[in-house]
């Protein structure tokens, strides 16, 4: 397999996963996060990249996340691979957790070409709605193995809300 063929092969790959991809888009529309280029940290130009899907001005990535709730706290986990801890900002705004930051692109020192570029770089902002009021001043965040984990104590501890609705 020649290196030059990689573009076609990746194209075929995307077609084969298109069905799953659409399903993912529908089920996790909120996980699709836009990455914008940051001044001072240029991405490769289109001329340096052979990946037909690549556009330097626009990057999208699915930042998978989950929210866990028990009677004392909410735990939000968000996949943020390849970040520096100091480049992640975590805020609690009204009833949402706002995670923003910048994923830096590191240029290779040698002359070469980017054959495939699927990872997203740049600045991003992700809003995770919170189902209950939390004590933001007691929140704790940790970043490990490329996953951000934020623990938010509930303002009013209690079991997850569940309301049964009768069907007439």
């Amino acid at each position: 397999m020649k290196l030059d063929e990689i573009k076609d092969r990746v194209g075929a790959l995307w077609e084969s996963v298109a069905e799953g991809w659409q399903h993912l888009m529908q089920s996790a529309a909120g996980a699709l996060t836009r990455f914008k280029p940051v001044q001072g940290n240029p991405l490769p130009t289109e001329g340096e990249v052979d990946d037909g899907f690549y556009l330097p001005s626009r990057g999208w990535a699915v930042l998978g996340g989950d929210v866990f709730e028990d009677d004392r706290r909410l735990v939000v986990r968000l996949e943020l691979p390849g970040m520096d801890k100091q480049d992640i900002q975590v805020e609690v705004l009204d009833e949402a957790l706002v995670v923003s930051g910048q994923k830096r692109f590191e240029r290779e020192s040698s002359d070469g070409r980017w054959r495939v570029m699927q990872c997203a770089y740049g600045s991003f902002r992700r809003v995770v709605p919170l189902s209950v009021a939390v004590r933001a001043d007691e929140a704790r965040a940790a970043y490990r193995n490329g996953v951000l984990r934020v623990e938010l104590p509930k303002a009013a501890p209690g079991a997850p809300r569940s309301l049964k609705i009768e069907v007439d």
Partner: protein, 121 residues
């Protein structure tokens, strides 16, 4: 090198990690996003001309309760690559930090373009 989706090999479904591939004269550098995978759960296998990257996410949610919103239903990554023969898989070097795997696969020395300086006397 090419990528192929080998999720149908009977090992269950797995997520396909996003990758960047950079090629220069000396070889290729591959970056793969594997967030949530601890170092000890990362597997790299080379079999003839196929390189397979596998990673198992660690289930970190201890205690009771229910996840109210889940997007990470497949806790495993898997992606296979067919390597071109000019690459020397014996000399793969790997680094894994913050959920990003970086692999450097050099080209075999005979496959590298050689520069021959011509001296004019």
């Amino acid at each position: 090198m090419s990528t192929s989706n080998e999720n149908h090999t009977g090992q269950g479904e797995a997520l396909l990690p996003a990758v960047d591939v950079f090629e220069d004269e000396g070889g290729i550098t591959l970056f793969a996003d594997l967030p949530g995978v601890p170092r000890e759960q990362l597997g790299l296998h080379v079999e003839s001309d196929t390189l397979t990257i596998e990673g198992q996410m660690s289930p970190e949610l201890a205690g009771s309760g229910e996840a109210t919103h889940v997007e990470l239903s497949l806790p495993r990554y898997r992606r296979a690559f067919t390597l071109s023969r000019e690459l020397d898989v014996e000399k793969v070097s790997a680094a894994f930090e913050h959920g990003v795997l970086r692999l450097r696969i050099p080209k075999a020395s005979h496959a590298r373009p050689r520069k021959i300086e011509v001296q004019v006397g």
